[in-house]
């Protein structure tokens, strides 16, 4: 187990057999006019069969960019500069085993090395995403049914065609477009995929699905539209579902409905979910394992109980202390001082990024900490010297070491 933890923390070992996806040393940078922004910095983690992995962090911690990097949706000026994304697919592995340019390890293929068209063909049938804001994620001028049927069609054509031609049949090129303009009734979707869309809408708990497929996104409420987006994500029968703040835009009673639905579909289909959120309550209710992100790094990871009950990293402790408890209100919250850092490369010193807000910052925090195993049995690891030795007040950094800026 400790071996696995080390692999996860980037010791360069290949992925394990039960990892659907194994990410190692993934870095994403944005090259903006103000300078280079290190949105994701050497992040490593794996997602196993049939589990919900939580990624939690505040805004700007890099959690969403991490998920976009997995499916290669980072747009300019952003670029994935480093790292491997191992995806388990025996078919792909066989196809590329003889290709020197592509890294293959057993059944796993490094998606960063395969051609872009292959990566593209995996979106939908292998990976799906649910985004935060359902209102802006749907095309307002196309009916909900049509948009779900499109996703069904992608899956149908993907299974019907050999991989080599898949990306071409998926595309809807200029030729197709012109042809459709001349010959009426030649849509991308078919009668069957529309029926499947109705079936999917029913599965996600939308009443009268047969009527509602013909409605436009504007006619749906926020919660209903989020259900429709889940239906669309399920259309491809993906191995990995990435849920990026799936309930943040929703009211609590609707949030509870959507979380129950996600849990149900996960159990029914045995797929793996990466749940990205800033809400520790959602993580506690849903996830098996959790990664805590801060300033582009995973600062603590482990099983839910290990991280929430015995946090080692002062940031995790601070996050947990910042939340008002519904059952047992404390007279005073214990917030983290200061603000989330800006991630501009020129402003990032080579130290623990949390040191300037950390109540327990010591001299050794001025060096970048490696991930240290806290407890191998619970896969608990933390990027903090406190994992190895207790806080020593003699070594404490002076309070004004980082300047008086931290409020």
């Amino acid at each position: 187990m400790s071996e696995r933890l080390q692999a996860a923390s980037g010791a360069g070992r290949g992925p394990d057999a039960d990892d659907v996806l194994s990410v190692s040393n993934l870095s994403t940078r944005f090259f903006t006019e103000e300078g280079q922004i290190n949105a994701v910095e050497s992040v490593s983690f794996d997602i196993r069969d049939n589990e919900i992995l939580g990624i939690v962090g505040e805004s700007g911690s890099g959690k969403s960019v991490t998920s976009l990097s997995l499916i290669d949706l980072v747009e300019s000026p952003g670029r994935i500069t480093e790292g491997e994304v191992w995806y388990r697919s025996p078919d792909l592995a066989d196809e590329f085993r003889s290709n020197d340019a592509v890294s293959v390890d057993g059944d796993h293929v490094d998606l960063r090395t395969v051609p872009p068209r292959v990566r593209r063909s995996l979106r939908g049938p292998s990976f799906s995403t649910i985004f935060q804001d359902p209102m802006s994620s749907f095309n307002p001028s196309i009916t909900v049914g049509e948009q779900i049927a499109e996703a069904v069609e992608v899956q149908r054509r993907a299974t019907a065609n050999p991989r080599s031609t898949r990306s071409r049949t998926q595309g809807y090129g200029l030729g197709q477009y012109l042809l459709d303009g001349i010959i009426p009734g030649r849509g991308y979707t078919s009668e069957e995929s529309m029926d499947r869309a109705i079936e999917l809408l029913e599965q996600v708990g939308i009443p009268d699905p047969a009527d509602r497929v013909d409605e436009y996104p504007g006619q749906f409420s926020g919660g209903m539209l989020q259900r429709a987006m889940i239906a669309q994500a399920l259309a491809g029968e993906p191995d990995v579902l990435i849920a990026d703040e799936p309930t943040t835009a929703l009211d609590v009673t609707i949030q509870a409905q959507i979380l129950n639905l996600l849990r149900e579909v996960q159990e029914e289909r045995g797929m793996s979910i990466i749940l990205i959120t800033h809400d520790l309550g959602v993580i506690a209710e849903m996830c098996d394992r959790v990664c805590v992100m801060y300033a582009g790094e995973i600062v603590e990871r482990g099983t839910l109980n290990a991280v929430f009950d015995d946090p080692v990293h002062p940031y995790t402790e601070g996050l947990l202390g910042s939340i008002p408890d519904l059952e047992d209100p404390k007279p005073r919250l214990q917030p983290i001082a200061g603000n989330v850092p800006g991630l501009l490369d020129s402003e990032m010193d080579d130290r623990c990024y949390f040191a300037d807000r950390c109540p327990n910052a010591m001299e050794s925090c001025l060096e970048k900490p490696d991930e240290i195993v806290v407890d191998a049995a619970t896969e608990h690891g933390a990027k903090c010297v406190l994992a190895e030795r207790p806080y020593d007040p003699d070594e404490a950094l002076p309070a004004d070491y980082f300047g008086g800026d931290s409020e």
Binding site: A256, L259, V282, E285, N305, L319, P324, D325, L333
Partner: protein, 373 residues
Amino acid sequence: MSDTNSHTDATVDSHTNADPGTEATAAGEPLVSVEGLRKYYANEQSIVDRVLGNEPESVKAVDGVSFEVAEGETLGLVGESGCGKSTTGETVLRLREATEGRITFDGENLLEMSDGELTQFRKRAQIVFQDPFSSLDPRMTAGDIITEGLKIHGVADQAERRETARDLLERVGLSADQIDRYPHEFSGGQRQRIGIARALALDPEFVVLDEPVSALDVSVQAQILNLLDDLQDEFGLTYLFIAHNLSVVRHICDRVAVMYLGKIVETGPVDEIFADPAHPYTKALLASVPRVSTEAREEDFATLHGDVPSPRNPPTGCRFHTRCPEARAACRESAPPDYAVNDRRRAKCFRNDADHAYWDSEPIEENARTAGD
């Protein structure tokens, strides 16, 4: 913390239909008292409608709301989006004109104030908005933003105003040197601090906090909540705290009013309501909140099914009957009055009346199931 828990109201019997605005507090006269407040947003009436004599369709955003805020206490106004809580907050400050009802501030009728009186009122009541990015003028410096109110009311000269702004910046946890910076140079949490400093500049008695922390990250949210707590003690403020986050409400409020579709369905001291909700909607809201503990795992949330109905065309009878797991036929027929649960609490639900016909009527079957079935 005020001792509103100890207030008594001997006149309330177990099923009074009386206006809940008559609730009195031990602290004497309430600072703010709202009775039967209504705010309708009417659709524009077209010529065709006028010729045909069609009534314009209106959205009943706030539909008969009554509550009181005692001096020095924090009243939480909680509910889901679209329930009318922000409209209530803004109408109470007369930032929006009420359609109907009575708002009394320190014994004076707010809705009948002349312009001059209203100006005086504005000095005593302030608001902090939800979004710290759009509620500060990007072309004004922090100092200008904070002193704008002082300038309008002609309080102090320029040098004194600047000194006030410097003091306030320090007080809300910023540095006095940041007085000449523009909003874009601050982070979200810092901007919210400026918004709070602006609200405090005129030394108000009453502050409406409209979702002041919901746009902030959790670690920053906790800082702001602590700050609001400190300022209340220091300046002797009375808060109307509007929020959708129940944990935050539990943390900061003394009493809470739960809103659903333009009506307050339950009011009372926050501890009692959270420990033992008397209205099924409050119960459902509490059950829906994901708990930050590893113990509650693997249990499904007890969810409500369906969506909040449109306030354009609210359900008849009890407005919650379309989603209520306890709903019976009686709930469809008439709207429940305000029942006194005890001398501090009220709830709009027939279940608080042991003799009501509700108990003999047929349950509404489809509501008993949970969502997704």
